[in-house]
Structure formats: structure tokens, C-alpha cells
């Protein structure tokens, strides 16, 4: 796959269709892969990589990149195409300046999960028949492939590319996923249990803003949390209230626009399951206002920019579920 991608990228660079390529660059170890822009065939040959660890969603970079001179080639996984489509819909990317090659998606691996097993000193990771053979300083270790899969991939919602100019490999289908399982589990807890769960999670937050900055839906020029005039500009949570507020507002602001790409949880250095907040909104929207998948198309109205005269009242929240 990696070779096919490099070859196609070289062709497109050579015939002038694009003048640069956004993809993933090899790091020091097996897993530390950085999104990068490649300008030439030589650079592609040297560093371009596509493997089990190339999980980063590059569509947000296209907000800036698509406004530069010339066309850029972007390799997008199915989940990335949803993000890209949503950005197109919001006029944040210039569609004409991006040449999209759809590539097969995950499941991708999470190095943190391998490390959490106590496996350390990782030198190389190989997938042999869905068993990971991990070469370490302390000898070879093995673990089942699926135990190291990123959370976002474990509950993949779709293998379908919603936007592309060409494909390498097959296009897939929208999947039946179990992505709302954990949300439901929480909904069925008591309010006290839910409170305790989230307090425990949010208290880990160090307000690094990685979740916000990586989110393809968070594209405000200036975030309200960076604006000294907003009265909520805070850099570090001095109080549990601030942790709550930041995460509620962050999730709320992308409600109806979040494609559930799962980047927020992937990048969280403290492993806070932030995607659950987004999924709660998606689940509510689906059940209250009809099924809606952000990024699926570029024309439909977002649920929060829309209304029906017979929408349910807010009091529905008081009437359902566990108190």
C-alpha cells in the first residue's frame, strides 16, 4: 500500500497535477509518526510512511494548506474524508486546491496501549496474522492486535470514503458500530455515579488544549478560551468548574459538526475519553432530531442550525433516563 501511494504521489507531482503532498513522515521509532508536507519525489522516498501507526487525521492541516499556491495531494482515510467534507461544507477549505486520494482506513494501533501492557523499550512492531510481534530492548513480546487498536478505530463507524478524486484500494461501507455502547452505559448509571466518573476523568485534565487544537471541527480563528475579553480565558484549571466548563463548551461548540473522528481522545495525554462527550451529543441529535452524520454530505443543514416546529421540549431531559 505504502509503495502504491508513493508511486502515485510521484506521478502526480511529476505531471504537475499537484505541487506537494500531505501525508505521514517516519519518526525515530516504530510509532512516532508526524504528519508532514512532502515537496519532492526524493522526500517521499526517504520518509513517507503508511502503516499501522499512521492514525493522525491530516484534514485539519488542509485549512491552511489549501489556501496556499497550487494544488496539494492529500491521502485521506475514510474517517478523514468525513472531516474534510465537513470543512468543505463550512467553507474552511478550498476544495479545488486539494486532490484527494482515498486510502483504506484502520484499524490503527495505539502505542500507548502497548506500553500500558508493561511492554517497554519498543524497537519494532510487526503485525503477523493479527498478533503483534514487538521487538524490544528486553526481548520479543507478543500481544493480540486488537488489544492495541486505537479506541476510535475499535468503534469505527464507516469504511466509506465520502469524498475523493481517486481511490487506492477498495471503497468500503458504512458500518454498524457499537460506538454508543459506553454512552449508554453511562446514561444508565445514577447521576452521582456519572458525576463521580466525570470528576475522576476531568480532574486528570492539564488543559494542554491538544483536544481542541487537533479537532478538525475546531477551526475558529480565535477560540473563546483564548480571548481575554470573554471572561473565561484560562490557561490552567484552577478549579474543577473550569475543567467542566472547558469540556462542555468544547464539545458543545462542535455538536452537530463533529464527525466522530476520535482525534480528541487519541491525542489526550491523560487518556480522558473525550469522544464520549461528542458521542453523547451525536446520540441525542440522532434520537431527538433524526439520524444525522456530520460530514456525510456538503449540503444538508446542521441540526443546530435547523429546527422543526414540533421539536421536543427541553423538559424531555427531565423525563427520560436515570436520575
Amino acid at each position: 500500500m505504502q509503495e502504491a501511494m508513493i508511486n502515485r504521489a510521484k506521478q502526480l507531482l511529476a505531471d504537475g497535477t499537484v505541487n506537494r503532498v500531505i501525508g505521514w513522515k517516519r519518526g525515530e521509532f516504530a510509532y512516532d509518526i508526524t504528519p508532514a508536507v512532502f515537496q519532492s519525489a526524493e522526500e517521499l522516498d526517504a520518509d513517507f510512511v503508511f502503516d499501522d501507526f499512521t492514525s493522525a487525521n491530516v484534514s485539519k492541516y488542509l485549512v491552511k494548506e489549501s489556501k496556499k499556491e497550487g494544488k496539494i495531494l492529500a491521502f485521506l482515510k475514510p474517517c478523514d474524508t468525513y472531516s474534510f467534507n465537513q470543512l468543505t461544507k463550512e467553507h474552511r477549505v478550498v476544495r479545488e486546491n486539494v486532490y484527494i486520494i482515498g486510502i483504506p482506513g484502520g484499524p490503527k494501533l495505539d502505542a500507548e496501549k502497548i506500553k500500558a501492557k508493561g511492554i517497554t523499550g519498543i524497537l519494532g512492531v510487526k503485525n503477523e496474522n493479527y498478533t503483534l510481534k514487538i521487538d524490544t530492548i528486553y526481548g520479543e513480546e507478543t500481544m493480540p492486535f486488537y488489544e492495541a487498536v486505537l479506541d476510535k478505530c475499535a468503534s469505527c463507524k464507516s469504511k466509506k470514503h465520502v469524498v475523493f478524486d481517486e481511490l487506492i484500494g477498495e471503497d468500503g461501507d458504512v458500518l454498524e458500530s457499537n460506538r454508543f455502547e459506553m454512552v449508554e452505559k453511562l446514561e444508565n448509571m445514577t447521576a452521582q455515579e456519572r458525576y463521580d466518573f466525570w470528576r475522576d476523568q476531568f480532574s486528570k485534565c492539564i488543559r494542554c488544549n491538544a483536544c481542541r487544537n487537533v479537532c478538525p471541527a475546531c477551526t475558529c480563528e480565535k477560540c473563546v478560551f483564548d480571548n481575554p475579553n470573554s471572561g473565561v480565558e484560562n490557561k490552567a484549571p484552577a478549579d474543577s468548574f473550569e475543567e467542566n466548563m472547558f469540556h462542555i463548551i468544547r464539545a458543545f461548540h462542535v455538536a452537530g459538526r463533529c464527525t466522530d473522528c476520535g482525534e480528541c481522545s487519541r491525542v489526550c495525554p491523560q487518556n480522558i475519553p473525550l469522544h464520549l462527550l461528542n458521542r453523547k451529543f451525536i446520540k441525542d441529535i440522532n434520537s431527538l432530531y433524526g439520524e444525522y452524520q456530520a460530514g456525510e454530505d456538503t449540503t444538508s443543514r446542521a441540526p443546530l442550525n435547523d429546527y422543526k416546529q414540533d421539536d421536543c421540549e427541553a423538559s424531555i431531559v427531565h423525563e427520560r433516563g436515570v436520575e
Binding site: F241, N244, I248, F252, P303, L304
Partner: protein, 148 residues
């Protein structure tokens, strides 16, 4: 609000009222000499959809024990459709607060027209009672703002 062992807990209620219906409704309940608790602090907004989730959260931060949002009845919005958007937005926000384990009775949306002075007073009485039962807001409180 001070919590004094000898005194009954008096919640602080923040009511966002839209300028065209609910604020006039509150006014009417006043001119009709209907009683509603003095714990209710009214903040006038041009339309209920002016209220952004941050307003609700910041009211809790600065010491509110309950927040109620009042607007025109659906279909009667001065700006045609503002309250329809409010309805969706607040439904999702309240659902999220509930999801985080914040007591669901601390928040409410109520439609009050300019003619419904009695409904305004009744709603405020009822809401204040409900919040009083819950006690002081502790789950969505900013400790720094608590008065010693």
C-alpha cells in the same frame, strides 16, 4: 447565598428572560402584585436564543443554584424563529449537564408570553421550590467564588 444552619437554604436563581415576551410577563406579574421569590434574579436578553451555553455555565460559576431560561412561546418569537433554535440548543445542553451528573432540576426552559404574568410567578415559585429541595449547587460550583 449564605448557608446558615439556623436559616433555611435560600437558593439563588438566575432567570434569563427574553425582552419581548417573558420580561414583559415578569413585568405584568409585578404590576398585578403576584408574588414570586426575591431569590430570582432576572437578566434581560433580546431573545432567548441570545443565551449561549456559556451564560448558563457562568451563572452557575458565579453562584447560581438554578438557571431558568424564559422565552416567547414557539411560533411567537419576535425574530420569527429564535426560540426554536434555543429549544434545540438547550435540550442538548441540559442533556449534557445531566450526562455529567449535574442535577437535572437545576436547569429549565419555560415559555412565558407577555400576557402570562401569573404563569411567570407560578413558574418561578415552583422552580425555586425545586431548587431549594436540591440544596446548594455543589457539582457545578466554582469553589473560588464560594463565600466563606
Amino acid at each position: 447565598m449564605q448557608v446558615n444552619e439556623n436559616k433555611e437554604f435560600q437558593p439563588l436563581i438566575v432567570a434569563f428572560c427574553c425582552n419581548w415576551c417573558s420580561y414583559a410577563g415578569a413585568d405584568l406579574s409585578g404590576t398585578n402584585r403576584l408574588n414570586y421569590p426575591s431569590n430570582v434574579k432576572i437578566i434581560r436578553v433580546p431573545c432567548s436564543c441570545r443565551v449561549n451555553p456559556m451564560f448558563i455555565l457562568r451563572a452557575f460559576q458565579k453562584g447560581a443554584d438554578g438557571v431558568i431560561l424564559c422565552g416567547c412561546h414557539p411560533g411567537d418569537c419576535h425574530y420569527t424563529s429564535g426560540n426554536y433554535f434555543t429549544r434545540r440548543r438547550m435540550t442538548l445542553l441540559f442533556s449534557m449537564l445531566d450526562f455529567l451528573g449535574i442535577e437535572r432540576d437545576r436547569t429549565r426552559v419555560e415559555w412565558v408570553s407577555a400576557a402570562e404574568g401569573a404563569k411567570f410567578a407560578a413558574t418561578m415559585n415552583e422552580f425555586t421550590e425545586a431548587v431549594k429541595k436540591l440544596g446548594p449547587n455543589r457539582r457545578l460550583e466554582d469553589l473560588r467564588c464560594r463565600k466563606q
